[in-house]
């Protein structure tokens, strides 16, 4: 359990916020792809914590940045937290991306609010010196986040798709992703987004014979292995997303 203080909490796109928290110890511990489980203050009919991936951690400043979409009461209350207010979180939770040793080139595929863990993957790749391309999908231009960060981390290309065509190509980001994979040259794929998207990406990666990891979302009650509500059906049986994931080897996943 880590206490934290809100440093800033701002809207960065349509319905999407960035919260920067000060939590010095946590900032040194987080590995890309892991998550935290936040107690959102406010007397509330919703009691459970909100599990969120982190987008960036700055061990020197002692801060962690999280990007979140406001979808319900928990995230709405989170968006109301003022700088200076405090709460606590559990984490780091689960384990993150495992980029294969010796990978030369990677493809990252993010949909919607799946961008934060993908930023984490990009961070590792850039540290490891692995070249990478990004396919990024969003419902609309107003909901795109992370392009600047991905470019700054060294993405060789970022191809954007929107459902309504207001930015990039009109359509799903799974199409450019499949096209890139079909062309070849990749050793690793990391994906996070809606379940049907990840399923398609996993299939395209499998077709191309490339090792693929996905960051899965599940309804979590505890976030630390005590409740069995975050199950992922894998070829090796039911696995808890909070401890065995959220990042899974896509080839083992039966239900995304």
């Amino acid at each position: 359990m880590h206490d934290f203080e809100v440093v800033s909490n701002d809207k960065i796109a349509d319905g999407i916020y960035s919260i920067v928290i000060s939590a010095p110890k946590l900032a040194t511990m987080l590995e890309p792809g892991q998550f935290v489980n936040i107690a959102v203050p406010g007397v509330s009919a919703n009691l459970l914590r909100v599990p969120l991936s982190y987008a960036k951690a700055d061990p020197e400043a002692g801060t962690v940045e999280i990007w979140y979409a406001v979808v319900g009461e928990g995230t709405r209350n989170l968006s109301l937290m003022e700088p200076g207010s405090t709460s606590n979180l559990l984490g780091p939770g689960g384990h993150g991306w495992r980029v294969p040793e010796g990978a030369g080139r990677a493809l990252l595929v993010a949909g919607g609010i799946g961008v934060p863990p993908i930023l984490g993957a990009a961070t590792i790749l850039s540290q490891m010196g692995v070249a990478f391309d990004v396919c990024l999908g969003a419902a609309s231009a107003s909901k795109i986040v992370g392009v600047d960060e991905l470019c700054a981390l060294g993405a060789e290309s970022v191809s954007i798709s929107t459902d309504d065509g207001t930015a990039g190509t009109c359509g799903f980001c799974t199409d450019p992703a499949a096209a890139l994979l079909a062309k070849g040259g990749y050793d690793y794929v990391a994906s996070c987004g809606p379940a049907p998207m990840m399923k398609k990406v996993a299939q395209a990666a499998a077709d191309a014979g490339v090792y693929c990891e996905v960051s899965l979302e599940r309804m979590m009650s505890c976030g630390f292995g005590a409740c069995n509500t975050c199950n992922v059906e894998t070829v090796d049986g039911m696995k808890g997303a909070c401890m065995c994931g959220p990042v899974f080897d896509a080839s083992k996943v039966v239900v995304f």
Binding site: M1, A39, A45, N46, L47, L48, R49, L90, R218, M219, M220, S221, C222, F224, G225, A226, C227, N228, T229, C230, N231, V232, E233, G237, M238, V255
Partner: protein, 306 residues
């Protein structure tokens, strides 16, 4: 003034009345990094069957106003794997002063018996066993079985032959007085009241259930006034000690159960909201007992005035 907080729950000597609700506390060790679990009176481990069960598909949980609904379906690794993986830690826990009650599951009387035999053999450190005849999320051996005196009584009768250690029954929130009488007659050492309440939550856009099956089990504060009522009803009707379960988030909630007639109290959903909740509640309960001017918490058991 210091108050004696130790209670005897049907032969399980607890250093304080705080227990944990099966399925909400894993196998105990999941909480070891949050606090010293050995400070609790007891823990009840997630239900295990003789053979592993996969449980239900996702989604297994949705939040509702005042609580949550779950559809875990008693996923468990089977008694053997449980005893191997968690036994050493639980053995140490019991030596450190916190009693361990293991929950037993099955789909049929022979399955309960088989699971209990394995527990009895492989878990010498267990202070007692809780038979779960009330899971809202399984078809056989679930709430339907536990809601009738015959169904629950039959399981109890068969299990009673397997072990002399304390045997408790986790009851469904239905027909509690009749079922409790049957369980008393069949030799139960205590009753855990209540398991989660069957409910439904529908996503009005997809028109589908928000959990894997149409129905799930409700936990959390919403259960509390119903559970207190059931504890009180059963306390009037039978002589068995009762473990109050349902919506305990604070020491006051635990105190309500004690006043209604519970000897001990289990913390469930609160463990998810705050992993240290059970220990905090133990402290709050002690403070309340002090405020009541008694020297022994047992003086407050059933002290509700009506």
């Amino acid at each position: 003034m210091s108050v004696n907080m130790a209670v005897d729950f049907g032969g399980v000597k607890m250093q304080n009345p705080i227990n944990t609700a099966a399925g909400t506390f894993g196998y105990g060790w999941q909480f070891q990094n949050f606090f010293d679990v050995s400070k609790l009176g007891a823990i009840t481990t997630k239900g295990c069957a003789a053979e592993p069960w996969p449980g239900n598909p996702a989604p297994r949980m949705a939040e509702v106003r005042g609580g949550m609904i779950n559809s875990v379906g008693l996923q468990n690794p089977g008694v053997r794997a449980f005893a191997e993986e968690s036994g050493p830690w639980l053995n140490q826990l019991s030596k450190d002063g916190c009693q361990v009650i293991c929950q037993v599951c099955g789909h049929s009387t022979p399955e309960y018996v088989r699971a209990l035999e394995l527990f009895d053999e492989l878990c010498p450190w267990a202070a007692g066993f809780e038979i779960n005849v009330s899971c809202p999320n399984i078809a056989a051996g679930g709430a339907a079985c536990g809601s009738t005196p015959e169904g629950a009584g039959e399981v109890m009768r068969a299990c009673r032959k397997v072990t002399d250690r304390p045997l408790f029954v986790k009851m469904a929130p239905a027909n509690v007085v009749d079922v409790a009488r049957a369980l008393e007659a069949e030799g139960a050492d205590g009753l855990s009241i209540i398991n989660s309440i069957q409910g439904m939550a529908i996503d009005v856009n997809t028109r589908r259930s928000r959990v894997a099956k149409p129905k799930g089990g409700l936990s959390g504060p919403l259960c509390h006034p119903i559970a207190v009522r059931m504890v009180w009803e059963v306390a009037q009707a039978v002589d068995l000690p009762i473990n109050g379960v349902g919506g305990v988030m604070t020491g006051e909630d635990a105190a309500e159960f004690i006043l209604a007639g519970a000897t001990c109290v289990s913390v469930g959903m609160a463990n998810f909201v705050d992993p240290t909740a059970s220990l905090r509640i133990a402290g709050e309960l002690e403070q309340w007992a002090e405020s009541q001017g008694v020297s022994d918490i047992n003086e407050l058991v059933g002290a509700f005035e009506c």
